[in-house]
Amino acid sequence: MSALKCDHCLLTFPEKDAVYDETEGQKHIFCCNGCQGIYTLIHSEGLEDFYEKRKWKDAGVASALKRTMDIKPFTEHIRDVEGKKELDIFIEGIRCSSCVWLNEKILLRTAGIEYARVNYATHKAKIRWDPEVIGLEKIIRRILSVGYVPRPYCESEQFKARRAETRDLLVRFGTAGFLSSQLMIYTTALYAGYFQGIDKNLKLLFEVIAMFLTMPVLFYCGMPFIRNTLTGLRRLHFSMDSLITIGAGSAFIYSIYQMGIGGTVYFDTSAMIITLILLGRYIESTAKGRASETIERLAELSPKEARKIREIQDEPAGEAEFVPISAVRKGDLLQVIPGERIPLDGRVTSGESEVDEALITGESRPVSKRVGSEVVGGSVNLYGALTFEVTRTGRDTVLSGIIRAVEDAQARKPKIQILADRIVGYFVPAILLLTLATVAGYLIKGASIHSALMTGISVIVIACPCSLGLATPLAVLVFSTMASSKGLLIRNGGVVEHTSAITHLLFDKTGTITVGKPSLKELIVVDEDLRREKLLCIAASIESLSEHSIGRAITAASEGKPLPVSGFRAIPGKGIEGDINGSLVVIGNRTLMRERGVGSGVLRSFDNTVLRYEKGGDTVIYMAWEGKMRALFVVADVIREEAPGVIAELKSIGLTVIMVSGDNINTTASIAAAVGIDDAISETSPEGKKEVIAGLQASGRQVMMVGDGINDAPALTQSLVGVAMGRGADIAMESADAVLVRNDLRLIPYFVSLSRKSYSIIKQNIFWAFFYNVVAIPLAISGMLHPIMAAGAMAASSLLVVLNSLRIKRAE
């Protein structure tokens, strides 16, 4: 059986499934009719350039094919613009610039659509159409037809507020930047005059202009800082903002006074402090905004209404009514018709259907649901009507769990930032004390009140470390830009610090060290009365209900028609079971067989055969029913080619590498030996993986976990840094701190070394930000502070922080 590659989605697939097509003398091969359909559409619109332009080589398309879409969630967001309709939608499945291009072109060539533009960064499309020519449903179907999934785009109040804040910061920073650059012209002239002499009137003129340019910077652009200082002052709490306000404010007041007595002014210091800090805040704010979009998209998945089956005297009557989701209680019966989203978690009580859970679990194929199956809120019911009993509501649902996990991860602040904030908390009172001491010292020495005060203020001005606000955000920005250009998505700023502290690295086996696409290598028939095909068919029928990758290997190998299964149950870490024709079929590992009453003598008789395969790195699955062994399945997975090199590299930079797997000890050990991992932990359940990490953490180790499956999600959350493989389950990605967009393990050592480098640069930045100012303080106290020196120290430390942050780019 040879494998072919689909011309559209680049998936490899067995030859027997191939769909052939010939357009204009060119032969094409597709993996399914869906891909052929998309190709034909793209071709007929003259947009084949897409295949030339696209930059991804990973296989797969968004799971949009032949999907029905409920347009109701979209309709509430439609706006009326001059008789036309306008709507913002989020397009899922966009992977590179050619996807944006294709979506825009396909929409613009649809009659009735007047405007279509997709934002490259947010994948949000703005579409305007003529309602008399085309309906929304057609537009949605048009996007679906090219293999992308449109989703309603709506912003929560919180998100809107954040966007408004970002724009507000941009306007403030832009204004401050513009005024500061104007200010520099006059300050430069004043500096030149300081050395070469300047006409008195001209000096005054320049100083007055400088003052008027500084005023808006301080009182408009710097208003957020002033406001925070005033609220902080009431609680005697000093923060970065109070330092900025005190520094910039005193420099401004001091300069006005100096202007009056003909001294030197510090207006530029005042303006520059605010400008630079605003830049830092703006960078931070945009980075945060990008991260919070994931939450928005997840939250959008939960429907706001449910079809509740009306009860008459506690007896369900067949009729259903729409109720708001908040009115649904545990135990209520809800109905879902095809194409609708399942509103809450529950257990099916009647009906049969297939459900798309791609967004929750990452499983791209529809999962079939029967009476007794669990359904997850947020997934889409595809074919038949289902009635289910609600088992979880509100904050307990799987979906809200995911949303909470993501929110928590993003709320975390880098510890070093917290440390810097704390230092500032002590630094400000210390400087104020020092100022008082200076003033007192001068007065005791017999200096005039005027000169003592002036020296005191100059201490405050020089002590304000304006590059401190840039130190962390700028380095984190360069870090995450570098990482994303290599295919590594960083989900929060704290990752830099955590990753640089890592001592232990845990790898999941299936899907991480191995490719994660196991195939059935051999089927050993134990019960000679049954045919191979029959055994395979029975196993495949049950495995088709499982999301485990091993199950997929068995399902893929079977060619027969699946048998009806009832009472399907997955036993995490052990296997699965289900009823076929009245007998309970158990498929799983040796432990499960023992538990389900297979004699230990029988099991022992296979041990040699099993051991031989397991020593070779294969996994052996047992199948039994009615207490009798029926067959053994040998499933093989391929080790990622880069794995041994990566493991060696990680060890060479001083990390302890451990592999965890739910698989048995022999298979795990042989895979571990093949890639050079000394420490392998086998037969661990999802919770077990989490406990392994917790155990290591209890003894003071810093653990990074790399995994891909739903079963890794608890471990990813538990670990200090969780890294998910990009083709893994969504829930795994949501619980991870970083995601490998390209499934290339070589990114892991790069990630570790980049984080180490970035973290040391952040530390240097914070050090230098303080250092310049602290060194200049004695000069200010001695009363020898030149305005040039003040400006120079500030510019030099800011420049140093910027240049130092850019050094991250040179990291290997």
């Binding site: 291009w101 490259y120 513009f178």
Partner: protein, 54 residues
Amino acid sequence: MWTLILLIVLSLILGLGAWLFFMWSARSGQYDDPEGPKYRMLDDDDEPLGKKKK
């Protein structure tokens, strides 16, 4: 002296113009998609013959 003042006023007016331009661009959402333009400029809009515009 008058030349100098004239030039200063002129430079401030020019600066004000630049600032107003910035304010307009910020408010009209020009900074919302910093990624796009670098790709868009490479897209050719060459419509194949026989196709209706838009």
